[in-house]
């Protein structure tokens, strides 16, 4: 009886450990995965840095609009990158790291 109880307990604990395992939440991984859908590859950490610095430049006013921001991003992507990819990168970076900057993109849409 005692043995049965402890084996039930053990299997509950095993289940708890197994369930907890996939609960990783790394925004840099999600960001990298999103970039892959646009055909943007390269080191995950590099792209995450660029995404966060892009936000910082918007936050402190160094890049005053989305156009300047996209130009900054374009310069950091590989030689084969397209303008469309730079804009896709910018949109993902804002969604991932500074959603409060979404109006910057909306302002371009209204031009």
């Amino acid at each position: 009886m005692r043995y049965a109880k402890s084996s039930v307990l053990a299997s509950i604990m095993t289940a708890a450990v197994a369930l907890a395992a996939p609960a990783h939440a790394d925004p840099d991984v999600d960001f990298a995965n999103e970039l892959h859908t646009y055909g943007i590859y390269g080191p995950k950490d590099y792209n995450a840095w660029i995404g966060k610095i892009t936000c910082q430049r918007l936050d402190n006013g160094l890049d005053q609009d989305a156009d300047m921001s996209a130009k900054f991003v374009f310069r950091q992507l590989g030689k084969d990158a397209t303008t469309a990819q730079a804009w896709a990168f910018l949109g993902s970076a804002i969604d991932s790291y500074c959603p409060e900057q979404r109006p910057v993109l909306a302002a371009v849409a209204q031009q």
Binding site: I50, I53, Q76
Partner: protein, 145 residues
Amino acid sequence: MIKASIATAVVSVAAVALPAVASADASDDYPIPNRILKTTCTVDQYMAAVRDVEPIYYQRYMIDYNNRPPDIQQGARDRIYWFFSLDYAGRRQYSEDTATNVYYEQMATHWGNWAKLFFNNEGVAAHGTDVCATYPPDDPSVWNW
């Protein structure tokens, strides 16, 4: 016969002894990259350029900078402005002085990487000096990051 062998021995000892005096002379690219010795850009121009073209390198330097006490920050700024005020010959001499005497640069005893953005990476120096002339000569915002 004995004389000849002594002479040979002396010559070969000398030959061995001479290369051993391997002093760490500076070259035109070491320890300070050639582009930095020759650029006519100001500190602010160079930093603004690196902020745009090597943003991660700039970011890392500024994180390090921001972690220093204010007097060290001030010292680093004063020192790099002083360096950029030198002409090519003066910069080359400074490069020589820091290469041959590790205690020459006092700033480095307070902050080892105080000039990393300027002196440590030839690629960064090249990319920065390629475009630095297009930036405003005075831009204090480069130190606010």
